[in-house]
């Protein structure tokens, strides 16, 4: 039986750690280090704006030119394909459980047609000590509520302390000397081809959620131990535009070249559990297996589940030509794309 009195007594015995308040006070009393935007960068930004005035008028943002590195990192063979990684620690506990993934060569023509026109230049910097953070470019898909950011962290003596999973995902361990992050729900990967000892190039997939809406996206850099004293770049996302998307199942599924958004309850799916199977079927008979838990395959770069509304967003590790798709299978049910 559910004994309410026992439950209340049990919960009452739960307490936050005693040091939290002191830590909060210590953090909030620290003085933020000033950041400088170098004159050279400021001038370059002005020149970029003047040259791209026509582009601004046409699509509402400054187009990011020469995106080949970005496109390769996000959608090409940034890392090798893998059969998956399952690792246990010395106590027999599962510590890594990464399903198989496949990275394909980038189709440049598809990338230039479907994604490149929507990449916007940012060119903003923040400085923290000897570290410089530069947000280079981004893409936002308002229909999906998702996008990507391309950015870098630089230090003249080298950027160290980060770790990279086999699938390219980057994270900062507790003892890292520096910490960089976005305030959006998302996942960050290393651009393996562009990164050097002194320049860390990063690819972040993000979704706009309750805390971070399209008007409040930030990228920050700061002390690895403190993680709250940070210098920040604010990124203005375009209010409209974005890659062309298609809707299936009376709007319950939205597909774009960079991701898929699914309204779980509209498809009769549970509102708070992950979707275990999503396969995109092309008209030529080939498939893009985005998720197949039974087969231990995952080719998504980020998955976001709003447990209350049942909205599920998944971003792709390749560009999908939605005009070449025939149908999508979700949890065993096939949803055809409407014929033109």
């Amino acid at each position: 039986m559910f004994d309410k009195k026992t439950y209340r007594e049990a919960v009452s015995s739960l307490h936050a750690s005693g040091e939290i308040l002191q830590e909060v006070k210590a953090i909030t009393h620290q003085t933020r280090k000033p950041f400088r935007l170098s004159r050279a960068i400021a001038l370059a930004a002005i020149v970029t704006v003047l040259c791209a005035a026509a582009a601004v008028a046409a699509v509402g943002f400054i187009r990011y030119e020469n995106p080949s590195n970005l496109l390769q990192a996000f959608f090409g063979e940034n890392v090798e394909s893998s059969e998956g990684v399952v690792e246990y620690n010395e106590y027999g506990k599962l510590v890594t459980n990464i399903p198989a993934w496949e990275r394909l060569p980038l189709d440049e023509s598809v990338a230039q047609e479907l994604v490149a026109p929507y990449l916007f230049a940012v060119g903003e910097q923040a400085v923290y000590g000897d570290y410089t953070l530069t947000v280079e470019a981004g893409l936002y898909d308002p229909a999906m509520g998702a996008g990507l950011l391309y950015w870098k962290v630089e230090h003249p003596d080298g950027v160290t302390g980060y770790e990279v999973f086999p699938d390219g995902e980057l994270w900062w361990p507790e003892d890292a000397p520096v910490f960089a992050m976005t305030n959006a729900a998302g996942r960050t990967y290393l651009d393996t081809a562009s990164t050097t000892d002194t320049q860390l190039w990063l690819c972040t997939w993000f979704v706009t959620d309750f805390i971070t809406d399209a008007s409040n996206l930030q990228v920050s850099i700061g002390d690895g131990q403190d993680r709250l004293d940070m210098a920040t770049v604010a990124v203005a996302l375009p209010e409209n535009g974005g890659p062309a998307s298609v809707e299936l199942a009376e709007g319950a599924i939205t597909l774009s070249p960079i991701g898929i958004r699914i309204n779980g309850p509209a498809l009769g799916l549970p509102v708070d559990s992950d979707i275990d199977q999503i396969v995109l079927h092309y008209a030529d008979g080939t498939d893009y297996v985005l998720e197949d838990e039974e087969a231990f395959v995952s080719n998504r770069t980020y998955g976001f589940l709003d447990m209350e509304q049942g909205a599920f967003i998944s971003t792709f590790n390749r560009i999908v030509d939605t005009t070449a798709l025939a149908s999508v299978t979700i949890e065993g049910t096939s949803y055809p794309l409407d014929e033109p």
Binding site: F2, T6, A16, I20, V24, K25, F210, S298, L305, Q309
Partner: protein, 159 residues
């Protein structure tokens, strides 16, 4: 917010934030992290609160959002939940067993359980906090009680 305003509020609601975060994450360490994050947001907010209820409601909403972000990496950790409750100082084994049963419920059940039975919010107030219909809250509470009844009876038979 001034320190004079912040400190009493932080002391008053720290455990509230922690307990809600614990019901979401089922991890004391993550719940502590979220508590710290939310308190920092409280300190830095320039929001004008109309009442204590307004503050608490705001804190709970911010905590809910922070917890949802914390739950977005399904592949990396597989630590058993029992490892976390085993280290907690419950008054008796009966209390520990009941908390294990509640924490074993899916999040969509255990969070309304906490907000309704511990914080004392009505179903409609829980619905407003979680941005779901009131009828959904009532259904989830009913199902949660049924699942707990079944789980706890099974546990009795196992002893």
């Amino acid at each position: 917010m001034t320190e004079q305003q912040f400190t009493p509020l932080a002391r008053r609601y720290m455990d509230t934030i922690f307990r809600l975060a614990f019901h979401y994450t089922r991890s004391q360490a993550e719940a502590d992290d979220i508590t710290q994050e939310v308190l920092i947001k409280l300190y830095r907010t320039d929001k004008a609160f109309e009442s204590e209820d307004h503050v608490k409601h705001w804190l709970l909403r911010v905590t809910i959002n922070a917890c949802k972000k914390a739950l977005l990496s399904p592949w990396r950790r597989t630590e058993p939940m029992e490892d976390h409750t085993a280290a907690l100082p419950f008054p008796s084994p009966e209390h520990s067993e009941l908390m294990d049963a509640v924490l074993a419920l899916p999040a969509r059940y255990r969070v309304p359980i906490y907000l309704h039975y511990y914080e004392g919010y009505s179903c409609d107030e829980v619905a407003a906090l979680l941005h779901i219909p009131g009828a959904t809250v009532r259904t989830r509470l009913r199902r949660a009680r049924a699942m707990l009844k079944s789980d706890l009876q099974e546990a009795e038979h196992d002893v």
